[in-house]
């Protein structure tokens, strides 16, 4: 298994994935390139989370092929993920980031400055010594973002990162995502929140019943969807 020079593009070719009795993703072909954020949208159960996990390499497709920078079966080197409900290690906030820095091979002498920088980036400066699991939901989500960024990723996958947050916490997380995008990191984000998709997306991938229905620049998707399902989604009428 050779590590790729770059994790991008992430290419999915005719990927199928299911559990007994249910086909979750059926014949997905998609290329995730560097550039503006790609936002996966679709109703609940459309396969967004599964697609994000496949793109991260956490699960293997039943059939089809996934490559990262042209290479299949690569361990995550410069790709990172933030889950819908992030798991905080039973350590302080700073120690959570230091753990990720250590796993990424960052020299110990750089841990302190990098941890401080990342905590400041996500608006948690001053909370480094707090137990991570005692932070609020929004703070935990931002800490998860900082921990993911500690891996110095080229691509950051975000699985409904604001799904369980209030509007203020959602705005704080979205601000961090914008800062991440400004650093040139490719963001792939899933959401069923139309407003969030409008605010963040450069490219929209609409999933419905395990299939890619549309893959379009965001402006075009919201102005003039190419498909009936796209029109229904923009109108808030697309149900499972």
């Amino acid at each position: 298994m050779r590590a790729p020079g770059s994790e991008l593009p992430i290419v999915l070719e005719d990927v199928r994935y299911g559990v007994p009795g249910v086909m979750i993703l059926d014949g997905i072909s998609l290329t995730l390139m560097s550039g503006a954020p790609t936002v996966l949208v679709g109703p609940n159960g459309s396969g967004k989370t599964t697609l994000i996990r496949l793109a991260m390499g956490l699960i293997e497709p039943e059939s089809g092929r996934i490559t990262w920078g042209g290479i299949p079966h690569t361990a995550p080197q410069r790709r990172a993920i933030v889950f819908q409900r992030p798991v905080m290690l039973r350590r302080s906030a700073a120690a959570n980031i230091e753990y990720a820095l250590a796993r990424a091979g960052t020299a110990r002498s750089e841990w302190g400055p990098r941890t401080g920088e990342l905590l400041a980036l996500v608006g948690l400066a001053g909370l480094g010594e707090r137990a991570a699991r005692r932070l609020s939901g929004g703070e935990q989500q931002r800490l998860a973002l900082a921990r993911a960024l500690a891996r110095d990723p080229e691509v950051l996958l975000l699985d409904e990162p604001t799904a369980s947050l209030d509007p203020a916490a959602t705005k704080a997380v979205e601000d961090v995502i914008r800062a991440v995008v400004a650093r040139g990191i490719k963001v792939v984000l899933s959401t069923h929140d139309l407003g969030e998709a409008r605010r963040l997306a450069g490219e929209i991938v609409l999933l419905h019943r395990g299939r890619v229905i549309e893959c379009t620049p965001a402006e075009q998707f919201f102005a003039e969807p190419k498909t009936e399902a796209g029109r229904q989604f923009v109108a808030g009428e697309l149900l499972l």
Partner: protein, 244 residues
């Protein structure tokens, strides 16, 4: 009618002995203290040895999938109820002069007692650690996979992050070791000043009728268990406040 002499019953002797037992405890009687110190050393060493083997073993079983894993878990759980006298007998046979490890020459020494107690405690620590770590692994699996953490790193991370829960596991092991009498009496021989522990001394002194010493040792044994648990609880609470 002949008047009955006031013969002290077992109960009255025990009550009068109770005061003497307290005197023994609070005066730090040298005979009592040597027994107490040896008991603590043997039990703590056995728990440390069992932890070195049991914690990684529990973590390994929690993280790996292999044919017969369910059977191993059932066996490990069953071994938590190992009869101490059977373990004592097995270790005795191993360490006796004609046994396979007879050349070590450690039968009837504290080393033999530590080995016997470690054998008793290891399954308890491994089985309870396995459950604790498996629960944490379910929670951490995706996060550690995403961070590309290898098998040894996973075990180390899970052991560290479960450390406060594992304190309870170690306490269960310590309780087993401290209260155990069957194995240490067989492999230690209950030699005064050398291999006599609190439990073996209590058994012996009770049979001899020296209730003050037996009661004094009993009090100290219970006090040690309470103090160890209280310290561990305090440490756990403090740690949880820091780490969550």
């Amino acid at each position: 009618m002949q008047q009955l002499a006031a013969v002290p019953t077992l109960e009255t002797r025990a009550l009068s002995g109770d005061a003497t037992a307290l005197e023994l405890v609070f005066s730090a009687d040298p005979r009592l203290m040597s027994i107490v110190i040896l008991s603590i050393l043997v039990s703590c060493s056995a728990v440390a040895l069992a932890a070195l083997i049991g914690l990684p073993l529990g973590a390994l079983i929690a993280l790996t999938r292999f044919p017969g894993r369910e059977g191993v878990i059932v066996l490990l759980n069953a071994l938590m109820g190992l009869p101490p006298v059977v373990v004592g007998l097995a270790v005795y046979l191993l360490l006796s002069r004609s046994g396979p490890l007879g050349s070590w020459g450690i039968l009837f020494t504290p080393k033999a007692m530590i080995i016997a107690q470690a054998i008793l405690v290891t399954p308890i620590i491994a089985a309870l650690a396995r459950q604790t770590i498996e629960d944490l692994w379910t929670e951490y699996r995706d996060e550690l996979a995403a961070m590309n953490v290898g098998p040894l790193g996973r075990i180390a991370t899970l052991l560290w992050d479960a450390r406060f829960s594992l304190v309870t596991t170690l306490l269960a092991g310590f309780g087993r070791a401290a209260a155990e009498v069957g194995a240490v009496i067989i492999v230690g021989g209950n030699i005064e000043g050398f291999t006599r522990t609190m439990t073996t001394a209590i058994a012996l002194e009770t049979s001899k009728g020296d209730l003050p010493l037996a009661l004094g040792l009993g009090m100290v044994l219970i006090a040690i268990v309470v103090v160890v648990n209280a310290l561990a609880w305090t440490a756990r609470r403090a740690g949880e406040r820091y780490a969550g």
